[in-house]
Symmetry: C2
Subunit: 398 residues, 2 copies
């Protein structure tokens, strides 16, 4: 994957960002691989229509990565686009039509300013209901946070603990957008106003971390990012040609949910997350307790809290407390978002699912450097489209 960043890739087209990710992916194959070995290309991209006025995206990427004339597919399921692309690639291999498929995701978001960005991102929710009502994505997740707080007594400080943890993990990830502790970032921002903070919570509670949609503040939200990521999927029996240390995709889960929150009976969980994880665990033949580490969709801190409950890592209502107690930290019982998550690694929407897999791949191969989780054998990714209209869960094993 490329580094995820808000300004570093501004002078590149998304096709150049994607090609960079693809080149790294191809050149990092242990025993080597050539573009001639690739039978198809599947690309997750969310709304290049708005960011670059570009559709017909996969064909363009096939051209720019030297893969013509292979079949190319562009998959769009909002923020879950590239993990859904991985699923389509896996179906292609499992069907026997393809032996080896290159699958990736990309988004160049830095082309838009805040207002048009908000408008572009609202296309992922129900345009007939949510958008005219004036809600935005942070507001929708804020409603979920408030519902959870009310029902379970969970609180904002628990969400803050998630932000602090993910920024800490990102300090050890050279591909992350922000590679500083929360308090350092806070002091960098505060210094412009002559302010300094001694601990993360002091900063996070201050007006320097402004309210976006109660109770979510700026540092409860993932950033706007540019970036690309790519992986290679091949049939299990063919892996030896390319590596002696493959990572196996052993469980696929994918469920659809209502686009609008007003169609859900309860806002304290995301039904499609629970359903997708049930499917993935069943196919992999495992239970939640067998998972060694997970990358979950923390577009907002509250989303990570809900995910750790929906995926079955913690009981309902206990996700926030678990984060606060360090049970999801690198040295906790179930490390979550070891790469910094969407929160700190960045969230170029169409690339996010494959970037999660990139981290699981590194962890399961013992190549995650300072953030390595010991004896990691089973990793999971959880990728959410908008507020849960689409959720994918995928289980990977050594």
């Amino acid at each position: 994957m490329t580094r995820f960043h808000h300004s570093l890739h501004q002078d590149k087209n998304s096709r150049e960002i994607f090609a960079e990710a693809v080149n790294e992916s191809l050149s990092s194959v242990d025993k080597g691989i050539s573009t001639k070995d690739i039978d198809a290309l599947v690309v997750g991209n969310t709304v290049a229509e708005f960011f670059e006025h570009q559709s017909h995206y996969a064909s363009l990427m096939a051209d720019w990565t030297g893969l013509l004339p292979v079949p190319s597919y562009r998959i769009e399921t909002a923020c879950a686009s590239s993990s859904t692309a991985v699923e389509v690639a896996a179906l292609g291999v499992a069907s026997g039509l393809y032996d080896t498929v290159l699958v990736g995701g990309v988004e160049k978001m830095s082309t838009l300013k805040t207002e048009t960005m908000t408008e572009a991102l609202m296309s992922g929710v129900d345009i007939a209901y949510d958008y005219p009502a004036g809600v935005t994505n942070p507001a929708l997740y804020a409603m979920m946070a408030n519902a959870h707080f009310r029902k379970y007594g969970s609180k904002w400080e628990q969400l803050a603990a998630i932000a602090v943890k993910n920024h800490h993990n990102a300090t050890m990830n050279p591909k992350a957008q922000y590679q500083s502790e929360v308090v350092e970032l806070g002091n960098r921002i505060g210094s412009r106003q002559g302010l300094s903070f001694k601990d993360p919570l002091e900063f996070l509670r201050s007006p320097v971390n402004p309210m976006v949609a109660f109770p979510l503040r700026l540092f409860d939200c993932s950033p706007i990012s540019d970036g690309g990521a790519a992986i290679i999927i091949t049939a299990s029996e063919d892996t030896k040609r390319y590596t002696d240390a493959p990572v196996y995709l052993s469980g696929l889960g994918h469920a659809s949910g209502t686009m609008s929150l007003h169609d859900r009976s309860d806002l304290t969980s995301v039904p499609a997350s629970a359903e997708a994880s049930r499917m993935a665990y069943q196919m992999a033949g495992i239970e939640a307790k067998d998972v060694d580490l997970a990358m979950v969709h923390d577009c907002f801190t509250v989303a990570e809290m809900l995910a750790t409950e929906d995926l079955g890592f913690f009981k309902r209502g206990e996700g926030g407390k678990a984060a606060e107690e360090g049970r999801t930290s690198l040295d906790g019982e179930i490390p979550i978002n070891t790469d910094g998550g969407l929160k700190a690694k960045g969230h170029p929407i169409g690339a996010t699912g494959v970037a999660m897999i990139n981290e699981v791949y590194k962890q399961l191969r013992g190549e995650a450097g300072k953030r390595q989780v010991e004896n990691a054998e089973t990793g999971l990714i959880h990728n959410v489209g908008a507020t849960g209209g689409t959720v994918t869960v995928q289980v990977f094993r050594t």
Copy 2:
């Protein structure tokens, strides 16, 4: 499928149009089917982002067709989106993950006026090169026409014959946007200026049929349309549960080509069409001469001429002459676009591929009414994204 039309569906959202197509699809299954039998939904949609400011499209359609929580996929490959969706559905079934998949396409285009429509449709070509140069889709196809005319001596009258044929076929298709002969349509338009025409060519040559991009006139172009289409794909061994007269998908072809014409060495053919047909014929174990009828992508009349050569129905340079001689008419040796084609049936981009399959399905089952081709056993669809960045070819057999 719904009727395709430029104004009939104006008061509906695309979700309502899609639901109408899905309802017809489900209710026309010979032995009945329930939404509970559907394991996944795959939706082809090209740019609802521009037409309705809506992305995350498949999830929304799963909701509105009563299919939650099945996995849903939105596939976008410009004008080839829904045939590519069919391919993904087929991979899902062939992989064994799904037994039965609902797959469809939809586009509601009537929301935009001409200038914004042209801009929206240009997102399907290379936005970094073609769009800033000021070309539009008709201009790009006009270049191909001129190249073909120059190389082979083909001429505009041959393209006109394609328009006349497709409008004639559409008079027998109750789902078509235009159900009148070309000359009748010409007289309807001409009557506003006190003009009348005795034969189609007289009208087509007149200023009442204005030049769009030389040599392409208005009636060389497919219209702007609203519409939806859906089909159901199930494993071959499961078909008996639903029907005694299934139609088998026996060949899949799909190739990517350069987005820009400036990257092609020759404009008189579409390389991805030739490659995709080679793949499809090979998988189906047939040759071009075994095809009884074909729906080809006539977004412009010249596109049909090129397609009949690229698919191997006629020698290079002879496609136009063949059309003029009636060899592609309903009673010709290889009937092309029996349903009226994109030209006269209409072209709601995201729905077009599945609508082509709808026609092949009807023809192979002997249910095509007045436009029935006798003893049709092998049908083909050919669906092109933009100027050939994506081409799919699929072979169906009884």
